[in-house]
Subunit: 163 residues, 2 copies
């Protein structure tokens, strides 16, 4: 049984290696592949409004953050980032995290969710977000420097949550 | 003769009222209309890579900041914000600031410039950026809470600077 619950301090020792591995891959997030632990903690835990983890039998399998995507006059649209542990890929955990984040966002009064920078070559992610109701509303030519493919497009994806 | 030059500390007493008036209008930037001086200074001066001012006969008529729009793997695309004093509107100062920022960006090695959040109802701005070579590459439905019009779309605009 996978439970999604708020991040607690002792979770960091599981979350950090997951973030480190994901960013090091250089194919999905723009954060430095050699990001330091303090900076990772700042962006994933301290800066966001909230951070959640997916836990199963005491093991952390995934995590997401949520925050307003803009200040005051744009703060009704939220932004999230999701990471799933390599060993837990393909089990639908990213989808469950995203569904959880949408429900939580609505409870907090957010009216929409925006992903600013979905790497176009990350087709599995693009398909997943589309399946979960997001639309591609923008394309940024060559905005992501992929570790293997060079400059690739990044997509802006958006979902209205409340009328 | 209008000169565009790097921001210096004594300029703040001219720049701050200009920012304050622009944000207070609630029709172009998402920053809180009642933003405090310290926060305005953080976003316009401290956080960016550089800030410039347009000066004429010792008077500051406009200002812009420039910064990478994303961390490491997206840091080849820059982002700018421009503000012109109310009394200097309609004299082409925004265009000159934007042209200056594009040249400076290229010198710094940026390959493109992106505006994340151009309020769609701000038609003068949209037309100006289009005239200066930017394209609308995305539309964010209802992402801006306009002080008078309610929820309006925001546009993502983009210009490739280097091949």
């Amino acid at each position: 049984m996978t439970e999604i619950r708020p991040f607690r301090d002792p979770d960091w020792s599981s979350v950090w290696p997951m973030l480190q591995a994901t960013f090091a891959a250089g194919d999905s997030y723009s954060f430095a592949p050699d990001i330091g632990e303090a900076e990772a903690r700042r962006i994933w835990i301290d800066a966001p409004l909230a951070t959640f983890v997916a836990e199963e039998d005491g093991e952390i399998l995934g995590t997401y953050f949520i925050k307003p995507n803009q200040p005051a006059l744009g703060a009704h649209v939220c932004n999230c980032g999701y990471v799933v542990a390599a060993r837990a890929q393909g089990r639908g955990i990213a989808a469950r995290l995203c569904e959880h984040s949408q429900r939580w966002a609505v409870e907090q009064g957010f009216r929409a969710m925006q992903f600013n920078f979905v790497v176009a070559s990350n087709e599995r992610a693009v398909r997943l977000w589309e399946r979960l109701g997001f639309s591609v509303v923008g394309r940024l030519p060559g905005a992501f420097r992929h570790h293997r493919l060079g400059f690739v497009d990044a997509l802006v994806m958006f979902k209205t949550l409340a009328p």
